[in-house]
Point group: C2
Chain length 323, copies 2
Amino acid sequence: MGKPQVLVSEVGPRDGLQSIKRTMPTDAKRRWISALSAAGLREIEVGSFVPAKLLPQMADIGEVVAHALTIAGLHVAVLAPNLRGAQAAFETGAHKLTMPVSVTEAHSLANVRKTHLQMIDEVRAVVALRNARFPKVSIEAGLSVAFGCTIAGSVSDDETIRMALAMAECGVDEVGLSDTSGYAQPAQVRRLFKRLHAELGAKAGGAHFHNTRGQGLANVVAALDVGVTTFDASQGGIGGCPYAPGATGNIVTEDLVYLLEAMGVDTGIDVDKLVAARSILSEALPGEPIYGHVPDAGLPKGFTYADGRAPSAAQPAARTGVA
Amino acid sequence: MGKPQVLVSEVGPRDGLQSIKRTMPTDAKRRWISALSAAGLREIEVGSFVPAKLLPQMADIGEVVAHALTIAGLHVAVLAPNLRGAQAAFETGAHKLTMPVSVTEAHSLANVRKTHLQMIDEVRAVVALRNARFPKVSIEAGLSVAFGCTIAGSVSDDETIRMALAMAECGVDEVGLSDTSGYAQPAQVRRLFKRLHAELGAKAGGAHFHNTRGQGLANVVAALDVGVTTFDASQGGIGGCPYAPGATGNIVTEDLVYLLEAMGVDTGIDVDKLVAARSILSEALPGEPIYGHVPDAGLPKGFTYADGRAPSAAQPAARTGVA
């Protein structure tokens, strides 16, 4: 098997679990991460290094990273919003660190209680620590509200690109664009990623879309058009707002992988094994909404993966359909 | 107001209502169609001309068409699978008739109990009747399973285009492509509609996508890229399979209109008025699943329509979002 054409980076254990009130037991997190990896996911963001007082869901991050590091071939990613969290992350041996950096000052103050200038200093300090003591760890700046902001409203392309350039100057390895609250639309996605590539070259990172307004996969199609090769997603789209049923969190990994494979884009992932891993979620988080269409509908009759594989399991019976 | 750039054709009263077991009361259908039209929808497929024994949900089609024809400016579309239904449709004064024509012989036999040759004869007879007695009515052939078939499996581009050409030769005014069971993927959508335009010219019709595997809006983006300007959708995505929760029917009108307007494509439709019309659905069909993300999340802060309008209603309060 060669290298897949697109990297699907699973962020459910971080972005999904930190956005719901319930805490997943540590053992279930371990089994879930193992199952996701066994389905072919090669990168998993397994949690955040944040004070347990603020996010008790992430209090076991050390144990979770330790388990993930035992899985052969898995690229273990974590998130940390500041130097203290980053140092703790580096010391666990995680392979990749993402720092959330807001494009609008208003979101930065609300999310990390820092101005833009303070956050830029923080990222610079994290890069310096990495360079000095943990040179193998890669650092991504994930630009929050890169397509629009629930506090500030519209965000211009210039604002987003300006912050991307600032991050590149800080010495991060890549800069990804996050649609934190489901503001992105396909024309904007094409414009912004095209410009990100033009301005940052090899430091242009992946796309992190939420499905708040149901536009997630539409935005993926647009991003693919302009050469984006890394997409974040969460199993079952977990992480939606509990006050808005249907307003799911990240795009659903199962539906994303199906989209890519159906288009002939190799991901190296087995949809049926991925779907099977949902039972760990539903057992560990009873009553929590779990989204996704492909898990219900199954793979189409006659489906083959981009690399020529046939489905690994029998599919649900389909109705005929009228028109 | 000029002509919208894209025509969103609402098919909920036909494709949605015929795919669920419950029957919507005639008065609710009337109010629903009026509310959809008041939200800016300019074409609505209001029902099917089929034997009431087979589809009791459509037994009141005559009354429904009569009501729809009283709404100024509304293009009233109906579906009929055969000459008998078409004649009844013509006699009501409906403006447009769609005939469902399966690309695979297996689906044709299952859906309309006719071989390809028998169905081609039927369409030819309907066109002859229209030409002789109802020259103002337009006829569309809607090619079912144009992207894949739950019975026959994969469908080649050649099969679909061959049937499209056969329909053009029968004298229909346009040929649309239907993804009856959610088999379409964006690369295929681009290929097929590009070829449809090349082969049929002005007779190339619109896209009718189902959201069975969550790929509906992704396919819309692909179709827009190759010049498709008519999209079918159903309010609330009603019409999903009752045995597969989450496997919605058609793409959701609310989410489609938001996608287009956010991309700067004028539809002439007001999302808030559209969302308000959902209450008629939920009251008339209690317990029936109604889908859509935009109705829960609301329009983004700072949103303006493609023609510069501001939202017509206050939006739900949004959470801030983390990353």
